[in-house]
């Protein structure tokens, strides 16, 4: 049974939100935890075929984060939608094959988030940006491979062919 892409994205976002709010805080040993929803939203924006396909999942992921968060309802939703639109725009001008660009985009999204937060709250949250961006970059390859495995048919077929050759 083939799921449409947007359904896969919705399932991914819901699962990421559940892991982010229940499993990760109990199992993760550091104070700063990875932002799975942000990474996922940026991955979707990078692979989106249309502007709406990039922005809407990011908005939903951000709003989901806002539902669980304490302050500024709508902050994550609007900012992640904005980041996704920038990423969609940037990614169509740059070389998609370059691995480094994805890390740059994750750092950019984290930075944008914390700059806005620092301005709005007038507290130096910007210091939290760098450790979070570093941890997000560590998680990016893992989440990307999971995302590609479930959303790109070629990735699965490629593996199947690889196993057949072995």
């Amino acid at each position: 049974m083939a799921f449409p892409q947007y359904q896969k994205h919705a399932i991914f976002i819901l699962l990421a939100a559940l892991v982010q709010t229940t499993v990760l805080p109990q199992l993760w040993f550091l104070r700063i935890k990875p932002d799975l929803l942000l990474i996922l939203a940026m991955l979707i924006a990078m692979n989106a075929k249309s502007l709406a396909g990039g922005i809407i999942p990011a908005l939903c992921a951000g709003l989901l984060k806002d539902f669980f968060g304490l302050h500024f309802f709508g902050f994550n939703g609007l900012l992640m939608a904005l980041s996704a639109s920038c990423v969609y725009g940037i990614f169509h001008f740059l070389n998609k094959e370059s691995k480094g660009i994805k890390f740059f985009i994750i750092i950019f999204a984290s930075l944008m988030n914390y700059i806005a937060l620092t301005i709005i709250s007038r507290k130096p949250y910007i210091f939290l940006c760098f450790p979070e961006a570093a941890i997000n970059c560590l998680f990016l390859p893992f989440l990307e491979s999971v995302y590609n495995f479930f959303t790109t048919p070629l990735s699965r077929e490629g593996r199947a062919i690889g196993y057949a050759h072995k």
Binding site: T21, T22, V23, L27, I55, F67, F68, L70, H71, Y125
Partner: protein, 260 residues
């Protein structure tokens, strides 16, 4: 161009209005959505506890084998028993606290934690229907945990002591000196506005003073672990380690009123 019923809309306008629509809808349905997702959260939360029990199993089983080779076969039962005993102890503590307490309380379980790194909060499985209101103080078996900031029908959000926006008036138990307990952006807890000649020392116990609304006096908060001079040189502040482990708090009591 998108064509709907002979009218033409540009994709950018469609995206813009969709975003505004989703945003307004989510704002209106916020409480319903949070109540709705509390069910999968509970399941996920329980599942996490099971995973933790499995992780603990490995350590405890190894130790058991090393110390008592003859009991190796019963390791599985011992771990399950240990997990139940810990849970039992925790709940007993909570129950005795509830019995001893002069407050009307509602016991609740933490079902989710704040996904952001810049705020410190949790969601509990009790809400308006159980009599919880915004502003209610929240305690655990060891001491003060935080306060209720948002209430929905079946869930509520707690701002923990480590949140940068959290603040509560407190006193040093030994010297009776007053100060303000607040969180930092790094999630730590500090006591500010102590006078320059304050004789606060490491190890002093901090308690609520009762000056902040909804926080009864005498609730234990934590112990001083570091004393520092203010950068301006006008006073002192100290870092406090809360008695409640804010990262792993699982069961809490919400103070909804007083018995007297």
């Amino acid at each position: 161009m998108l064509k709907i019923n002979r009218y033409k809309y540009s994709p950018a306008a469609v995206v813009f209005f969709t975003i505004i629509g989703i945003f307004i809808l989510s704002l209106l349905l916020k409480s319903k959505i949070i109540d709705l997702i509390s069910f999968p959260l509970k399941i996920s939360s329980n599942w996490t506890s099971d995973i933790r029990a499995l992780v603990a199993y490995k350590f405890i089983a190894d130790e058991n084998v090393r110390l008592n080779a003859q009991l190796a076969g019963a390791a599985n039962d011992a771990i399950a028993f240990d997990e139940l005993r810990q849970e039992n102890e925790r709940l007993k503590k909570l129950l005795s606290l509830k019995k001893e307490s002069s407050f009307v309380t509602v016991a609740a379980e933490v079902i989710a934690r704040d996904p952001n790194n810049w705020s410190t909060g949790v969601i509990i499985d009790k809400g308006q229907r159980q009599g919880i209101k915004a502003g209610n103080a929240v305690i655990a078996s060891e001491g003060l945990s935080g306060r209720i900031v948002d209430v929905y029908s079946y869930t509520a959000k707690i701002m923990l002591l480590g949140d940068a926006d959290s603040s509560v008036s407190a006193i040093i138990q030994r010297t009776r000196e007053e100060g303000l307990i607040s969180g930092t952006i790094a999630g730590a807890v500090q006591m500010r506005y102590l006078s320059k000649d304050s004789d606060v020392v490491i190890g002093d116990v901090i308690m609520t003073s009762g000056l902040t609304r909804n926080y009864p006096a005498g609730l234990p908060i934590g112990r001083v672990i570091e004393v520092k001079d203010d950068p301006q040189g006008l006073g002192k502040h100290c870092l406090v380690r809360p008695f409640v482990n804010l990262r792993t708090v699982e069961e809490v009591l919400v103070i909804t009123g007083s018995k007297y």
